[in-house]
C-alpha cells in the first residue's frame, strides 16, 4: 500500500458508447448464435414493442390509461391482410396502410372517448376491443369471420433490379429489427420534442397545463391517434409474420401484455419499454411454460407493479446507465 495509490483518483471511463455499440453488434449478429426459436421469441417481442411505444406515449407521457391498443393492433393486422390477400400489394404499402387506417379510425373513436373521465375512458377503450372482435367475427363478407384470412404472402421487396422475398426466420428477424429501431427512434423524437414536454405537463397537471396555454384536448387526441398508428404498424408486421389473422387478434390479452410491457419496463421512458418488451414477451415466449402458469405470472407481475414497483424497471435501467457513465 504505497502513498502513490492513495493520492491519484480512480480512473473514470464513459462506457455508454462502447456498451451501445456492443448491443448493436449483438443485435445484428444474433442469428449466428441463437437458434430459430429464440429468434422467434425476439421477433414477437419486437413486434409487440411497436404498440407498446404507442401505449407508452399515452400512458407514460400523457397519463391516459387505455386498453384500446389491441383494437388498433387488430385493425392494422386485418388491413394489411386484406390488402395483401385481395390486392397483392407489396409489404411496405400494407405496412403504411395499416398504420394510416388505424390512425384514421382512432380519430372518430377518440373524439367522444376522450371526453370521458378516467374510469369511463378505460371502459370505453375496452369496448373498442370487444366491438372490434365482434366486427371481425360477424362481418363475414369482409373478414371471413372465424375462418380467418390465411395465406398472407411473405414480404416481398422490389428495389429496382434487385428483389428479394423475406422468408425464413433470420431474414424476418432483420426486417423486424429495422422496423423496431425506426419506431423507437421515432418515439424518441416525439418524446424529446417540445410536444413531448407538453405531454408530460398534461400528465402531471392537466388544468395547469391548460392554463399555461397548452391545447390539452388537441394533444390528447393527437397522441391517441399516434399511438393507434404505432399499434397498427405492429399489427401489420404481425399479420405478415404469422400469415394468418383471425378475430382472436382482438383480444384483451394483448392489451394486458402491452400494459405489462409499458408499466413493467417503466412508463415514461423509451429504454424502459424496449427492455420491458424483451423481458416480458421474449422471456414468456422462450419459457413457454404452461399458458396458465404464464398468465398467473402476468397477474402477479401486475400486482407487484401496481403496489411495489410503480416505476417498473426504469429506475434499475437508469442506475445501470449512470453506472456505465460514471463507472463508479
Amino acid at each position: 500500500m504505497s502513498p502513490r495509490d492513495l493520492s491519484l483518483p480512480a480512473p473514470r471511463w464513459d462506457l455508454r458508447l462502447p456498451f451501445g455499440i456492443a448491443l448493436a453488434a449483438a443485435a445484428c449478429l444474433a442469428p449466428l448464435f441463437l437458434g430459430n426459436y429464440a429468434l422467434h421469441a425476439i421477433i414477437i417481442a419486437l413486434i409487440f414493442l411497436l404498440p407498446a411505444h404507442g401505449l407508452n406515449l399515452l400512458v407514460g407521457y400523457t397519463g391516459l390509461l387505455s386498453l384500446a391498443q389491441a383494437a388498433f393492433f387488430g385493425i392494422g393486422a386485418y388491413t394489411s391482410a386484406l390488402m395483401a390477400v385481395h390486392f397483392g400489394t407489396p409489404f411496405y404499402l400494407n405496412l403504411i396502410a395499416a398504420g394510416a387506417v388505424a390512425g384514421a379510425i382512432a380519430l372518430p373513436l377518440g373524439i367522444p372517448a376522450l371526453r370521458l373521465r378516467a374510469t369511463s375512458f378505460v371502459m370505453c377503450t375496452l369496448g373498442f376491443v370487444i366491438i372490434g372482435q365482434a366486427i371481425a367475427k360477424n362481418w363475414i363478407g369482409l373478414t371471413r369471420g372465424d375462418m380467418g384470412l390465411s395465406g398472407i404472402p411473405k414480404p416481398y421487396f422490389a428495389l429496382g433490379p434487385a428483389s428479394f422475398t423475406i422468408s425464413g426466420t433470420t431474414s424476418f428477424y432483420y426486417l423486424v429489427l429495422v422496423i423496431a429501431v425506426i419506431a423507437t427512434l421515432a418515439a424518441n423524437l416525439i418524446v424529446r420534442s417540445a410536444a413531448g414536454r407538453n405531454m408530460v405537463a398534461i400528465r402531471e397537471n392537466e388544468t395547469l397545463a391548460e392554463s399555461v396555454g397548452i391545447p390539452t384536448w388537441r394533444y390528447k387526441l393527437v397522441v391517441f391517434m399516434i399511438s393507434a398508428v404505432f399499434a397498427g404498424l405492429g399489427g401489420s408486421v404481425y399479420a405478415h409474420y404469422l400469415t394468418v389473422v383471425s378475430p382472436l387478434t382482438f383480444q384483451m390479452y394483448y392489451s394486458t401484455t402491452m400494459l405489462i410491457i409499458v408499466l413493467g419496463g417503466g412508463a415514461g421512458t423509451i429504454s424502459g419499454v424496449v427492455f420491458g418488451s424483451l423481458l416480458f414477451v421474449g422471456l414468456s415466449e422462450a419459457l413457454r411454460v404452461a399458458p396458465e402458469v404464464r398468465m398467473i405470472a402476468y397477474g402477479l407481475c401486475l400486482l407487484a407493479l401496481v403496489f411495489w414497483f410503480p416505476k417498473g424497471f426504469a429506475p434499475l435501467i437508469d442506475r445501470f446507465w449512470s453506472f456505465l457513465k460514471e463507472r463508479k
Binding site: R117, V293, I296, G299, C301, L303, F307
Partner: protein, 290 residues
C-alpha cells in the same frame, strides 16, 4: 306473435336477474373503493366451482352445495380483500384497474391449472320445467328471479337502515370525512368487497344448473357483461343497476331472437358505447360523479 315477444321478454328478465345480482356487487364495490373490479366475474366462477366440487366429490345436495360455494368464495375474498383491495382505497383509478386485472388473471388461471381447462358438467339444481303464463321455464329460473328480488330488497333495507349500510354510503360519498367521524374505512371497504364477491358467487351457483357447464374461463364473460350494466346504471347506484341489468337482459334476448344469436354478446358493449357517448354518467343518475 305477441306471446312470442312476451316470452322473450320473460327470458330477458331471467338473464337480467342474473346480471343484476352480479352487477350490484360490482357497483357497490365501486362506490366504496372507487375501483372497477375486473375480477368480479371470477368470484361468480369460484362460487360455481365451489358448489360443483361439493356435489361432484362429496355428493352433497344442492342447497348445501350452494352455501359451500358462497362460503368458499367468501374465504378467498377475505384474502384478496386484505392484501389487495384495501390498498386500492384512495389510490388513483389506474391502480384499481391494474390490480383487479392481475387478480383476475391469477384466480382464473389457478383454477384452470388445478382443475383442468375442460368443461365440467353441473349436476344439481331444480331443472324441472314449470308452466307459467303458458310457457315453460325451469324451476331454477323462477328461483333466480325470486332471489334477485330478495337481494335487492335486502340491500335497500341494509343501506338505508343498518349501521354497515350507512357507513358504506358515507364512504362512497366522502372518504376523508369518514375518517374524521370515526368510520373505519378499510373495514367498510373489506366488508363491502366480501359482500359483493359473495353476491357474485351466489349468482353463479344459482345459474349453474341451467347453464350446465362449469369451466375456469366462465368468469371473464360475466365481467364483460356486467361492466356495461354498472356504467349504464350509474356507478355506485344500486337501483339504477337493477334497471340497467333488466334492460340489458331483455335487449340481449330480443337481439338473439330477431337479429341472430351471434350478436348477443355485443349488445352489452354496443349499448355501453352509445350510452357513454350520449349520457356519460349513466342513464339513471342526475349528476356525473365518476
Amino acid at each position: 306473435m305477441l306471446s312470442a315477444i312476451f316470452e322473450q321478454i320473460v327470458n330477458g328478465i331471467v338473464s337480467g336477474s342474473v346480471y343484476a345480482i352480479v352487477a350490484v356487487g360490482m357497483t357497490m364495490i365501486f362506490g366504496v373503493l372507487r375501483a372497477i373490479n375486473f375480477a368480479h366475474g371470477e368470484y361468480y366462477m369460484l362460487g360455481t366451482f365451489g358448489a360443483w366440487f361439493a356435489i361432484e366429490y362429496f355428493d352433497l345436495p344442492y342447497p348445501v352445495a350452494l352455501v359451500i360455494g358462497v362460503i368458499a368464495t367468501a374465504v378467498i375474498a377475505v384474502v384478496v380483500g386484505r392484501f389487495v383491495m384495501q390498498r386500492i382505497v384512495g389510490a388513483p383509478p389506474e391502480t384499481g384497474v391494474l390490480a383487479t386485472l392481475g387478480i383476475a388473471l391469477v384466480l382464473q388461471n389457478t383454477v384452470i391449472l388445478v382443475f383442468g381447462g375442460g368443461y365440467k358438467f353441473f349436476n344439481g339444481g331444480y331443472i324441472e320445467p314449470v308452466s307459467i303464463f303458458g310457457f315453460t321455464l325451469a324451476e331454477q329460473r323462477v328461483l333466480i328471479i325470486i332471489v334477485c328480488i330478495l337481494v335487492f330488497v335486502g340491500l335497500e333495507l341494509m343501506v338505508t337502515y343498518s349501521r354497515m349500510g350507512k357507513a358504506m354510503r358515507a364512504v362512497s360519498q366522502n372518504i376523508e370525512c369518514c375518517a374524521v367521524v370515526g368510520i373505519d374505512v378499510p373495514q367498510v371497504a373489506l366488508r363491502t368487497f366480501i359482500l359483493g364477491a359473495c353476491l357474485a358467487a351466489l349468482s353463479g351457483v344459482l345459474t349453474a344448473p341451467v347453464n350446465v357447464s362449469v369451466y375456469g374461463g366462465m368468469g371473464e364473460i360475466i365481467t364483460f357483461k356486467t361492466l356495461p350494466v354498472i356504467i349504464m346504471g350509474g356507478l355506485g347506484n344500486v337501483r339504477g343497476t337493477f334497471f340497467a341489468a333488466m334492460i340489458l337482459g331483455i335487449a340481449e334476448s330480443l337481439v338473439a331472437t330477431y337479429v341472430g344469436l351471434q350478436f348477443r354478446d355485443t349488445v352489452g358493449f354496443a349499448t355501453l358505447m352509445l350510452v357513454l357517448m350520449w349520457r356519460p354518467h349513466g342513464l339513471f343518475s342526475a349528476q356525473a360523479r365518476f
